[in-house]
């Protein structure tokens, strides 16, 4: 039994794999330029030390940590959404499943790189593994990220196996022999037999449940890195669920953006349809309401309790960071809510626009969580030079941030040349079920 060589596969799926789709050289070139710029900044930072960043004695965490939280949040929310879609066998999962899975793994690859950029003494990194303190949330985070990364890779691979088998068996697929050999190796002799299908379904289902749990645990641990300290603005009991909701908010937004881009540039309008955008948009609406609720609770409680250090933090937020505060917590929540709440406004473009606003707002929200808290410490430091008290990211940090984003986009682009953007096997299975249903109806009549 072969998987599909004889079956019809929509050529739209295979265009990018066969390299027939015009992969904009300008796009890839721009990404490579950004990566090179990031490399220059990295070398400069390594040679000169962290002095070239805006991080100082007070503000020891800057955009690197913000990017780390942001990307890891994308990954965990991707894992969560992917697990939910798979576990509950959501009807419209096929259109977005692959995009979600790729976002999950790639952001979990890119995110931790920012942590490495933030560490002053990289030569001591291995101490984390040689002298771990089980009591430390940092150790928990290291364990959680590594475990989650491996879990996500395994899960991603499981969902790829049937497609690898289809690509292996498709004799007229116009790819190199080397690539075919890779498909053959990765397909693991999968022939879509009932036994194989049953085993694959079982382990994929188990892994999907597992990564939902792992996403919650891992992002909770990340939130605890902040909330288990006594710092004003971080020491909060709702920080872990707040982080999870925020992660899901940005994750859903980011997936919508990816859906839009993949749909537009890979010409998959027939598969990624308005209904998918509306479904994802409604999830984004729910998340934006939840995120707004958590944000309001967080700040309202601090304002009402009127503790000195909390008030100092709120003063900083409402004074020096007022514009950012409004953009992150008002515009970043209210604009998506308004767009997604009214049925008439729910078009593909407007939903994507709402998603862009949500993602940018979330990044800014992360900035407001990290930086103003560090700028208002419990004890003032002795050296009160303005650049020591206030953080401003330097070109090095921005260059490396852009390089991280470029790296993500480049890997995403290249991965979609290797595997179909939409799981072919799932689409074909769905089509077969539909055909069988029609045949059964005809036979009955």
């Amino acid at each position: 039994m072969t998987t599909s060589s004889s079956k019809q596969i929509d050529p739209a799926f295979l265009k990018s794999i066969e390299g027939k789709q015009s992969l904009s050289k300008i796009w890839v070139g721009s990404l490579i330029i950004l990566l090179v710029l990031g490399l220059v900044a990295l070398v400069y930072q390594i040679v000169k030390g962290h002095e070239v960043t805006g991080m100082r004695d007070n503000v020891v965490w800057g955009v690197y940590i913000i990017n780390f939280i942001f990307f890891v949040g994308l990954s965990y929310s991707g894992a969560f959404i992917s697990g939910i879609l798979h576990f509950f066998e959501t009807p419209w999962k096929n259109a977005v499943m692959r995009i979600v899975e790729i976002v999950t793994v790639l952001s979990l690859v890119v995110g931790p790189i920012f942590i490495l950029l933030c560490i002053g003494r990289l030569d001591r990194l291995h101490y984390l593994f040689i002298y771990p303190r089980i009591q430390s949330p940092i150790t928990w985070d290291v364990i959680a990220i590594i475990t989650d990364l491996i879990g996500c890779f395994i899960y991603l691979y499981l969902t790829f196996i049937p497609d690898f088998a289809i690509l292996r068996d498709k004799e007229d697929l116009e790819v190199s022999d080397k690539r075919k050999n890779i498909y053959r190796f990765l397909a693991m002799n999968y022939q879509d037999t009932p036994e194989q299908r049953a085993i694959l379904k079982k382990i994929t289902r188990t892994m999907s449940a597992m990564i939902i749990a792992m996403a919650i645990v891992a992002y909770t641990v990340l939130a605890w890195i902040f909330s288990l300290t006594l710092q004003p603005g971080w020491n909060s009991t709702i920080f872990a669920p707040y982080f999870i909701i925020a992660g899901l908010y940005s994750g859903v937004g980011f997936i919508i953006i990816c859906m839009y881009l993949v749909r537009k540039y890979m010409h998959l309008e027939h598969y990624i349809r308005k209904i998918h955008f509306v479904g994802a948009g409604i999830v984004l609406l729910v998340m934006s309401l939840l995120f707004g609720y958590f944000t309001f609770s967080e700040y309202f409680q601090r304002w009402f309790s009127h503790k000195i250090h909390d008030m100092n933090l709120l003063d900083t937020l409402f004074d020096e960071y007022f514009l950012e505060f409004v953009l992150a917590n008002y515009i970043g929540v209210l604009v998506p809510v308004v767009i997604l709440f009214f049925k008439r406004l729910r078009t593909i473009k407007s939903i994507t626009f709402a998603a862009v606003i949500a993602v940018l707002g979330l990044w800014l929200n992360r900035y407001l969580i990290v930086v103003p808290t560090l700028e208002t410490p419990y004890l003032p430091i002795q050296d009160t030079r303005p650049e020591f008290l206030h953080y401003t990211a330097t070109w090095v940090e921005w260059a490396l941030t852009l390089a991280g984003v470029a790296g993500f986009c480049l890997m995403f682009t290249l991965l979609l040349r290797f595997v179909p953007a939409i799981p072919i096997s799932e689409m074909m299975e769905g089509q077969n079920k539909k055909n069988n249903g029609h045949r059964a109806k005809k036979a009955d009549s």
Binding site: N189, L200, V217
Partner: protein, 291 residues
């Protein structure tokens, strides 16, 4: 032979690398320093007496810059009017201190009031002028009596001098402190002055001692114009034995985490990684079924 010489020269060169360059390069301008030559005396608990001469230069512009005069020969004398008795000669150490300890049975020249005059003298060199410091002290005796009076631990310190007939003469207004000897510094229990030669205190009953509950009680007169430094000690068993600290439990702030953390972490990791293993085994099974 030539090789031996070469090896010796090379060895010297290597050794020279380890010499602090400041030892060679640093040159002090003595004019920038004001030389201070001071003399102090301490009567020790065993009746012996220590004479300390301190010879230190202090930068005129920077008071924190102190330069000890090393290896300066100091002569200690006991004088009375024109009579001088040499007690000993000592060179200053790297801190600029020359210390001489005299035995408890040392005889001293005294004046009519019983004051002993000590002189420390540095004869001078080409670079440093002659220096001299003197000090007049009365030979003070301290005595500690520790006893429980009506279940109250009471310490009585008697301060007295001896007249020419060796009769005790109680000394009034002697400022002294009672302390308990510690490993790094003494723990002060009470400070005060004598009245009719007596200083009496109620001693606390919660002072920690060694494993046997012993400690050393110290009566100390510090920097008195009339007596210099005088110390007297008494071993006491009034201390409270503090239990040896228990071995630290597994806590958040100790080196080892609470046990439940290890248990939870192990369960979680084993659960997750076992599932990974199970998945990988099944992937291999899929491969086997297809071949």
């Amino acid at each position: 032979m030539r090789n031996t010489v070469k090896i010796q020269i090379l060895s010297l060169l290597v050794l020279a690398l380890f010499l602090p360059w400041q030892a060679i390069a640093q040159d002090f301008d003595l004019k920038a320093y004001r030389l201070r030559f001071k003399l102090e005396t301490t009567k020790n608990a065993d009746g012996s007496r220590t004479l300390d001469a301190s010879f230190v230069g202090q930068n005129k512009k920077d008071r924190k810059d102190r330069l000890p005069v090393h290896q300066a020969e100091v002569v200690f004398l006991n004088t009375h009017e024109d009579e001088e008795v040499e007690l000993g000669k000592v060179n200053t150490d790297e801190t600029g201190t020359a210390q001489l300890t005299l035995p408890s049975d040392q005889n001293y020249l005294t004046d009519e009031e019983g004051y002993i005059e000590f002189v420390a003298r540095f004869e001078g060199t080409k670079e440093i002028k002659k220096k001299e410091a003197d000090l007049k002290v009365k030979d003070l005796f301290l005595e500690i009596q520790a006893e429980e009076i009506d279940s109250v631990k009471t310490v009585v310190v008697r301060a007295f001098a001896l007249d020419s007939t060796n009769q005790r003469v109680p000394q009034d207004d002697v400022d002294l402190r009672i302390s308990v000897r510690g490993m790094l510094s003494d723990f002060i229990v009470e400070e005060g002055s004598t009245e009719d030669g007596i200083f009496e205190i109620e001693f606390p009953d919660d002072i920690p001692g060694d494993v046997n509950g012993d400690f050393t009680m110290v009566a100390f007169v510090e920097g008195s114009d009339d007596y210099g430094n005088v110390e007297y000690t008494l071993d006491s068993d009034w201390g409270v034995f503090d239990d040896v600290p228990q071995k630290e439990k597994n806590e958040l702030w100790t080196e080892v985490a609470p046990m439940w953390m290890y248990v939870i972490l192990t369960i979680m990791l084993v659960g997750v990684w076992a599932n990974y293993l199970y998945t990988i085994i099944n992937i291999r099974k899929i491969k086997r079924l297809g071949s």
